[in-house]
């Protein structure tokens, strides 16, 4: 879908309201495309709340705080010092804004539901650990918020399904934080594949990490200012340990099975996502999955119903292998065989993929137009399901068969248990 118009959400809303008789809200015509840098009046900004401002959340907070179309008004965080840092950071930036509007500072909340209850908030950014994404998204939809949710989209397949349903049910604009889709390398590489420039696609290789595992860590005192129970949320209870709560990219909660799918989901949300994009499998998925060592599979291997085989490993990022050529893509890297595929210019008959050059801005634009962003929830769900199925195959050390339409594992009740993992009370909301 090519986007050629961006109208300010509030301009549209106000114009419509004016037509309905609300003369006091009469619009100013002549809207500029939202991608044009400009000063945005305070009453036209998108009021935004942040849920989780740790590693990824802090970057998102700073980017959106500096975006003139946004007004950050609230932060929810279970670590007091982190919340305070975020509040101060936003205040510093806004101190230099000429037009403060009615903004009177950022409010902080420990319970994200208090943030969602604020009617003045239009949109939320969710950047918590994976095990919280599902519940927070569903509740945010019910509260009428648009959502940017960090990748990986979900903790398990069941959460992903619940997220899709909630976003559709309440018509929310949802962006999955798999930002490689908004990078030219990946789009062009996928367009080459989708349009047959490497011949018939035969194999895809993806370099993603391994699954998460159970970790047995010693108890440590809960630091002051940390709400440990709320951090754990729906995941199984464990005594506090600094490793469990750490957002380190080489350890921490990302590698622990109770809070994440490991590097399989962390990187799968990027590279499997691109593989799905290139294969034209958004909303669909593989039909058989085998872990390494089972039935002579050297690597985790996926079979798709169109005959394409996808293997974990063996690529710098994602490598598409066709009958007449190959294309490999990663961040800052694209290589084609033959080399002159790089010169391809798409024809009018070629399929053009969604063109976004800025993942975060794309979400803002779509909030205004009510279009689906480049990595809509349904795309994020089908991509992360690939990772989840890989994990299940690893964890059970056996091949599984998947029905990508019914979204069910076929004839394996034990494997199916992992599609929707148990949730701890009182956070068992979805």
């Amino acid at each position: 879908m090519r986007r050629t118009r961006q109208y300010s959400r509030r301009q549209f809303l106000k114009r419509s309201a004016a037509a309905a008789g609300a003369a006091a809200l009469a619009p100013a015509l002549g809207s500029l495309p939202s991608k044009v840098a400009r000063a945005v009046p305070a009453n036209e900004r998108i009021n935004m709340g942040f849920i989780g401002i740790g590693n990824m959340g802090s970057g998102l907070l700073q980017w959106y705080t500096n975006n003139p179309e946004v007004q950050v008004v609230a932060i929810s965080e279970v670590k007091d010092d982190v919340a305070e840092w975020g509040k101060e950071r936003v205040a510093e930036v806004y101190a230099d804004r000429d037009d403060q509007g009615s903004f009177s500072g950022v409010d902080t909340y420990v319970d994200f539901r208090d943030l969602l209850a604020r009617e003045d908030i239009d949109a939320v950014v969710i950047a918590t650990p994976d095990h919280w994404h599902g519940a927070m998204t569903v509740l945010a939809c019910q509260a009428g918020k648009d959502i940017y949710c960090e990748k990986p989209l979900s903790f398990d397949v069941g959460d992903a399904h619940a997220m899709v349903k909630a976003v559709r049910r309440y018509g929310r604009v949802f962006q999955t934080g798999s930002q490689q889709r908004s990078d030219w390398n990946f789009r062009f590489g996928c367009e080459l594949v989708r349009n047959g420039y490497i011949g018939e696609l035969e194999e895809v290789r993806c370099s993603v990490g391994g699954p998460s595992w159970d970790h047995y860590l010693p108890p440590e005192p809960v630091p002051d200012g940390v709400d440990w129970d709320r951090w754990l949320g729906p995941s199984p209870w464990h005594p506090y340990n600094s490793e469990r709560i750490s957002g380190s990219y080489s350890g921490g909660w990302r590698l622990i099975r109770d809070t994440s799918g490991g590097m399989m989901t962390d990187w799968g949300a990027h590279h499997f996502d691109i593989a799905q994009w290139g294969m034209g499998m958004d909303g669909h998925g593989p039909v058989e999955i085998y872990p390494p060592g089972v039935e002579d599979h050297e690597y985790l291997t996926y079979y798709y119903d169109n005959g394409v085989v996808m293997k974990k490993n063996g690529a710098n990022g994602v490598l598409f292998i066709g009958s007449e050529g190959r294309v490999e893509v990663n961040r800052g890297h694209i290589q084609t065989w033959p080399a002159n595929l790089m010169d391809v210019r798409l024809t009018p008959d070629d399929e053009r993929l969604y063109d976004s050059s800025n993942h975060r801005q794309d979400w803002l634009d779509c909030i205004k137009t009510r279009q689906r962003p480049i990595c809509d929830v349904e795309i994020g769900a089908s991509s992360i399901t690939v990772s989840h199925l890989g994990n299940i195959a690893f964890w059970l050390n056996r091949g599984i068969q998947w029905d990508p339409v019914a979204k069910e594992i076929i004839d394996d009740a034990e494997a199916s248990r992992w599609l929707k993992r148990p949730k701890r009370e009182p956070y068992a909301w979805i």
Binding site: R169, R417, W429
Partner: protein
């Protein structure tokens, strides 16, 4: 057998040793031998913070047992024993976790006994939730009356996941019970999961009785019911639910959900209410209406009919929706708006037509593309360029002969912008390459340059000898930009004998560009660059060629560069090339790697911002190799990962030798030192040098941004 590597080397050894001994007489390579009995004994007293080795051993055994039916039952008995007989809470939590993998109805009583345990309730429930059979169901239903309110929320959730009809009555009772909204909400949400008329009746009844925040919970459950009805083919029942929720007295998010639902289940029938809703006073309703109109099936005609009647701001949104729908049914109204409206509305109609239009709109757009109004002309051309479909190209081409020169030039530009590969070069060549107007023929040449085909090449090659300098130049430009080296010889010839200096220079630039296109030997490259140097008339061109020559590692290249060292104008550049080639000859002839070999050159390109990397976590066994083409004695090796500070090798072995198939023992081994790793090689000699990464680092690649070798 357990084959996957995890948690580094120790766990791999652990699993491998265990696999050798079947039922587990021996376990950890670094611990005393352990039996299954001993591991379970350790488990019973285990507390968080104790050595987890035996738990890891048991978990590995669980994974093996779930793939071996004979082992399951005795293993389940052992975990039941852990739950029932005086183990620590941490041990019981571990047992619950393992029973989640494979527990059967036999485990249900032992798990059920823990549902009242404040610490373990959720762990037991998690395992119980997935166990089929009445024992688990009865246990969970029974627990509803005995657990505290917090635990009750969890039990209700599990009953909803299980969807045993026996749970509907107690869940309905809990949903209706006042006093604890959290419990009642959980019950309503659980009821919505049941595909049961009884559960639907319960939810419908609650719609009449609940107040406050519970209304939203019940409405959400009701929408869940509607979605299920729709999925089962009962759109009418679903629509009834949505209509009841769209009542103006309902809270706004109920109405939003109802509008979304109506747009899905009613399609065209929902168009009137959606179009009415775009004028709602409530922003959420207006947004929902736009979303519904964009996604509802069969509403294009209704939107198209209504759009012109709305005031401009709403018109703009609806026109955008028509474009996004990409439905040709919108074409007539968009054409009317283009002709009848102005300003933003007309521009929006052009944009929408670019998405929804087809070949039928080409004549209209062609007319506007030649209009006097520059803005109108620009929008029309922009729309023509964006229209999808090869039949559009044919339609444009079919109109060409009815136009004057200016129109022909304009439309050929459009075809070029469209990268209209489907308009055959033969057609263009036959009809237009011999056109009387040089301007048209120049445009034809430019367009043909975008069609890498034999026909195009033939036409362009002929045109490069045309009588018209404009056409000759255009043809040479197109040939110089050709995507492969097919016109290389033609360009080399033209660089020597074209009539004008500018044409010769254009041809030379194309020739030089094509020299580097293919994977040629060093000798062939030297030959081509030597020819280019001989053809070059400008010093700047010679200097450019010498720079390229300096990147060729070969004696022939050196010989060519040395010929120009004494040249007054390019001598310095030639000396630089000589120095560069000599440095290359002293360095590796080639580099290779276990993965991502295409990037291996990045490690020795002198640019620390580029890198070679494994593209995946360090797992051990990845290698990077240099071939020096002859024996060298190596003093030291430096691996620089400064721009990816966590990608240093966690361990390494360096091999040196003359046979890459049989290096023998490593000359040195060690661990990376962070951003820069310096490895002393103490004069080890050989043609090949290979670095093998031996460590593991989950989440971190092994990268080399720059590699340097000191030769003795």
């Amino acid at each position: 057998m357990l084959r996957f590597p995890r948690h580094g080397g120790a766990r791999c050894c652990f699993a491998a040793v265990f696999a050798l001994v079947g039922l587990g007489l021996v376990a950890h390579a670094e611990s005393p031998n352990v039996t299954l009995d001993e591991a379970f004994e350790t488990l019973k007293t285990w507390e968080a913070g104790d050595d987890p080795a035996h738990l890891e051993f048991l978990h590995d055994y669980v994974v093996e047992a779930i793939n071996d039916p004979e082992k399951k039952e005795p293993l389940e008995d052992r975990f039941i024993d852990v739950l029932e007989n005086g183990s620590t809470e941490d041990a019981k939590a571990f047992a619950c976790r393992q029973l989640f993998f494979f527990g059967t109805e036999r485990s249900a009583p032992a798990l059920a006994a823990l549902l009242n345990n404040e610490r373990l309730s959720h762990m037991a429930r998690g395992a119980l939730q997935e166990i089929p059979g009445a024992t688990a169901t009865d246990a969970l239903i029974g627990a509803l009356m005995t657990v505290n309110d917090t635990q009750r929320i969890g039990v209700i959730h599990s009953l909803g996941v299980r969807r045993d009809v026996e749970a509907i009555d107690p869940l309905t009772w809990l949903a209706r019970r006042p006093g604890n909204d959290a419990v009642a909400s959980a019950a309503v949400t659980a009821l919505a999961r049941f595909d049961s008329d009884q559960a639907v009746d319960a939810i419908r009844g609650l719609r009449q009785s609940v107040e406050g925040d519970m209304r939203a919970v019940v409405a959400d459950a009701y929408m869940e019911v509607a979605e299920r009805k729709h999925a089962q083919g009962d759109a009418s029942a679903a629509a009834d639910i949505y209509w009841s929720l769209y009542d103006p007295a309902e809270p706004v998010m109920h109405r939003v959900g109802a509008l979304q639902g109506l747009s899905r289940v009613r399609g065209a029938e929902a168009a009137p209410v959606l179009l009415e809703a775009v004028l709602s006073r409530d922003a959420q309703i207006r947004e929902a209406a736009v979303t519904g109109l964009r996604e509802a099936p069969g509403v294009t005609e209704a939107i198209a009919e209504a759009a012109p009647e709305f005031h401009e701001p709403v018109q703009l949104q609806l026109i955008a929706v028509l474009g996004d729908r990409g439905d040709a049914a919108a074409i007539p109204v968009l054409e009317d708006l283009i002709h009848g409206a102005g300003g933003e509305v007309r521009d929006a109609a052009f944009d929408a037509l670019a998405q929804a239009g087809d070949a039928s709109v080409v004549p209209m757009l062609l007319e506007l593309a030649l209009a006097d109004d520059a803005h109108l002309r620009g929008k029309a051309r922009e729309t023509l360029i964006a229209l999808a479909g090869s039949d559009v190209d044919e339609a444009i081409l079919a109109e060409l002969d009815s136009l004057g020169v200016a129109g022909q030039v304009a439309l050929l530009e459009v075809l070029g912008e469209r990268h209209a590969r489907n308009v055959t070069p033969a057609a263009l060549a036959a009809d237009w390459a011999s056109a009387s107007s040089d301007r048209v023929r120049v445009e034809v040449m430019a367009v043909l340059g975008g069609f890498p085909s034999d026909e195009s090449l033939e036409v362009l090659s002929q045109a490069a000898g045309d009588n018209s300098p404009l056409v000759r130049r255009a043809a040479l430009e197109a040939l110089a930009g050709w995507p492969d080296d097919a016109p290389m010889d033609h360009l080399a010839d033209a660089a020597g004998d074209a009539p004008t200096a500018s044409e010769r220079a254009e041809a030379l630039r194309g020739y030089i560009r094509m020299i580097g296109m293919e994977d040629r030997s060093a000798d062939t490259l030297a030959e081509h660059y030597g020819r280019a140097l001989a053809l070059a008339e400008q010093s700047s061109d010679k200097i450019e060629v010498l720079e390229l020559l300096g990147e060729v590692r070969g004696e022939a290249a050196l010989e060519v560069a040395e010929r120009y060292v004494d040249d007054d104008e390019v001598g310095a550049a030639a000396q630089d090339a000589v120095d560069s080639i000599r440095a290359l000859l002293a360095g590796p002839e080639s580099v290779s790697a276990s993965v991502n070999e295409g990037d291996a050159g990045n490690a020795i390109d002198g640019d620390a911002s580029t890198r070679w990397g494994t593209g995946g976590s360090q797992e051990g066994g990845e290698w990077f190799q240099l071939d020096f083409g002859g024996t060298r004695a190596f003093a030291s090796l430096t691996l620089d990962t400064s721009d990816s500070p966590n990608d240093y090798p966690r361990g390494y072995e360096v091999f040196v030798g003359d046979d890459p198939e049989d290096f023998g023992d490593p000359v040195v081994e060690g661990e990376g030192d962070g951003e820069v790793t310096v490895i002393e090689l103490n004069g080890a000699s050989g043609r090949y040098l290979r670095i093998v990464q031996t460590g593991s680092a989950e989440g971190n690649w092994w990268s080399i941004h720059e590699l340097s070798v000191e030769i003795e």
